[in-house]
């Protein structure tokens, strides 16, 4: 099937080469980082994780959100999603690849990455993260590809795929749970030390991921002959709004606990993010922007007339996606490090090379996604013809 990615219109090839160009430029910055060290980023002794780990955390959510298609289609026999479930799985593949690349970009000694396998350490959450992410990548690759292949041959998918598909449901939950456990099991980081972190991660994932998928569906309809379908897009929109409301509910639970108990270790981080602390507040405008976008997205999606208008829906999805991207990425990671364990405020903001390296990783993800979607759309249009 992969040969379908080798035949395309002029616009397709312009897009592919544009992505390759972006990757090349960003990679040159990565070479600089390899040479100088992570000092070219904005990270410091006090904020030791930054933009890379923020993107990683966010994208694990996008990957996990494929389960929002798999559950209705395979467990509840919601036939409409059969048309786009593979799109969700392919998005998961691209997202997990980006996650892995962001982890590698963040390592001080990337050539020692295999040490994680050479000295397996079950008491480290990073060890489990590696297992669940690589497992999830394989599951989606095998399931997505084989189901599409079966579809192409007009035969039902092989029987051995079923257990794998069922396994992919808890596995999707596990990747984001383990990602939350990276943070919420650390003593002395009051902002992350909350049992609701994993549920909140999942809720925001089930909003941000499907929001992005809706945008992809609209794009696919526009630039190809394949229509993912009106009903499918509307159903996804409902998933987005449920997820987004659950996310905000969990967030308000956090705010209540911190503000009502007034325990400084928990309260200080929220104060830093939303109002600034000791005169430092570089993230304050970002956080309020994120909240405004998320809430506006919810309002737009809740009104049926607005939701059914696909132009408005697209805007609502962009709002939701960007809002969660800011909140879960920058806010969650940097917010947990400021103030530091000695209660000093040292702020963080990404540098230009850091952003360029991140852009290169996103470029790679989009390239993978483009190729996979090209194959998918190719098969679909071939069947329709």
């Amino acid at each position: 099937m992969l040969e379908k990615a080798l035949k395309g219109s002029k616009a397709y090839w312009i897009w592919v080469f544009a992505l390759l160009g972006i990757i090349t430029v960003g990679f040159s910055f990565y070479l600089k980082q390899l040479d100088f060290g992570l000092g070219i980023t904005g990270m410091s002794r006090d904020v030791t994780w930054g933009f890379y780990i923020a993107q990683f955390t966010f994208l694990v959510g996008v990957a996990a959100s494929a389960v929002m298609l798999v559950i209705p289609y395979y467990l509840h026999n919601y036939k409409a999603f059969g048309r786009i479930t593979i799109m969700g799985e392919f998005l998961a593949i691209a997202s997990v690849i980006m996650c892995i690349l962001f982890i590698i970009a963040d390592l001080g000694q990337p050539m020692r990455l295999l040490n994680v396998l050479l000295y397996p350490t079950p008491h480290s959450m990073l060890f489990w993260d590696m297992i669940v992410l690589s497992g999830y990548l394989m599951i989606n690759l095998v399931v997505g590809w084989n189901v599409l292949d079966a579809e192409r041959n007009s035969v039902p998918p092989a029987k051995w795929l079923k257990p794998l598909i069922y396994l992919s449901v808890p596995w999707a939950i596990s990747i984001h749970t383990v990602t939350a456990y990276l943070y919420c099991g650390l003593p002395g980081r009051g902002f992350w030390l909350t049992a609701i972190l994993a549920p909140r991660f999942l809720a925001s994932a089930f909003a941000g991921g499907p929001a992005f998928l809706i945008l992809l569906c609209l794009l696919v309809r526009k630039v190809t002959k394949f229509d993912p379908g009106k009903e499918q897009i509307q159903s996804l929109a409902k998933v987005v709004v449920y997820g987004s409301i659950a996310n905000m509910f969990f967030f308000l639970c956090e705010v209540f606990v911190a503000m009502y108990s007034q325990i400084p270790e928990h309260l200080d981080h929220l104060q830093y993010l939303f109002f600034g602390l000791h005169g430092h507040g570089v993230l304050v405008p970002w956080m309020w922007t994120a909240m405004t976008l998320i809430v506006s997205g919810i309002i737009l999606l809740l009104i049926p007339a607005a939701r059914k208008n696909e132009a408005v829906l697209a805007v609502a999805c962009i709002f939701t996606f960007i809002g969660i991207w800011i909140d879960k990425g920058m806010g969650m990671v940097a917010g947990g490090f400021v103030p530091n364990p000695l209660h000093e405020v040292h702020e963080y903001f990404p540098t230009f090379p850091e952003v360029m390296i991140a852009v290169a990783v996103y470029g790679t993800g989009f390239l993978v996604l483009t190729i996979l979607y090209k194959v998918f759309v190719g098969v679909k249009t071939e069947l329709a013809a």
């Binding site: 099937m1 992969l2 040969e3 100088f36 060290g37 992570l38 000092g39 980023t41 904005g42 990270m43 410091s44 002794r45 006090d46 030791t48 994780w49 982890i103 963040d106 390592l107 001080g108 000694q109 990337p110 020692r112 990455l113 295999l114 040490n115 994680v116 396998l117 050479l118 000295y119 350490t121 008491h123 480290s124 959450m125 990073l126 060890f127 590696m130 292949d149 990276l182 943070y183 650390l186 003593p187 002395g188 980081r189 400084p264 270790e265 947990g336 490090f337 530091n340 364990p341 000695l342 209660h343 000093e344």
Partner: protein, 267 residues
């Protein structure tokens, strides 16, 4: 066409499997190499002599009544010189094993509006607490940071992948990361040939001078402290540190977190 596609798929599948086993093989072979080279370097670096100091559980008592700014400077200087700690101008890249801070930063949960005048302005030395229950060791995915039977929490600079999970896990901000090459730009003024320099991209921190204990010497900061720092065996009821703790009220940093620090402060 049909046949072509099938053979292509087969080929693709086999390639993926092949790649997988290749990297597995790679891992297996490099395992052998790294393990053996790690062993020899460990043997070559740390010689344990007959007069080595040993303990059940090493600990430190810091008598803040004997501390002043000058002593703090001397201790920092002694430690950072002994361990080739680089001095970077850029604050973000700073590396520190022991440093002075204020009471309100060392003990943020114990700050008080009406704190005694003496403590308010007193420089407090802070360093790795060598916790009995260290969260950094728990977090490290490669066991590059580990706990010795005598309680010292150590770093293997050759194994560290630089993920900085330990830095997120440490509730005391005791760890530093080499954001740039510590050997470049004359960052190490006087290199001590008895202790290794590091490379960029690895984490480092206080090691309770394990290399000095091994040859019968007290930690560098203790030597420079003019009696303000007392180092000894917390497991030995007759040791000086235990006697001090018996006779004086001592506090530890963030005791409520349950990491059980081995550094005590007399206030």
């Amino acid at each position: 066409m049909e046949k072509n596609r099938r053979s292509f798929l087969k080929f693709a599948g086999i390639s993926v499997l092949g790649l997988g086993s290749l990297s597995l093989l790679d891992g297996l072979t490099s395992d052998g190499v790294i393990a053996s080279s790690g062993q020899t370097s460990a043997e070559a670096t740390f010689k344990t002599t007959a007069n080595a100091l040993t303990a059940q559980r090493w600990g430190m008592v810091i008598d803040t009544r004997k501390i002043d700014g000058g002593i703090c400077k001397d201790m920092e200087e002694a430690c950072h010189t002994a361990h080739n700690v680089p001095d970077h101008e850029e604050k973000r890249h700073e590396i520190k094993w022991i440093w002075e801070t204020e009471y309100k930063h060392a003990f943020p949960e114990k700050t008080d509006e009406f704190l005694t005048e003496r403590l308010k302005d007193l420089p407090i030395p802070v360093l790795c607490n060598h916790c009995q229950n260290p969260p950094c060791v728990q977090a490290c995915p490669t066991q590059a940071t580990f706990q010795r039977p005598d309680g010292i929490v150590m770093m293997d600079f050759h194994r560290c992948i630089g993920c900085r999970f330990c830095m997120a896990a440490c509730p005391f901000g005791s760890r530093s990361f080499n954001f740039r090459d510590p050997r470049a730009d004359n960052a190490i003024k006087h290199e001590n040939p008895d202790f290794p320099t590091r490379m960029k991209g690895v984490v480092e921190k206080c090691n309770f001078c394990a290399e000095r204990l091994a040859v019968g010497k007290q930690p560098a900061c203790v030597e420079a402290s003019q009696g303000a720092l007392i180092f000894g065996d917390l497991g030995d009821p007759e040791s000086e540190v235990r006697q001090l703790l018996k006779e004086n009220y001592a506090i530890r940093r963030k005791q409520n977190l349950g990491t059980n620090p081995s550094v005590y402060y007399l206030v």
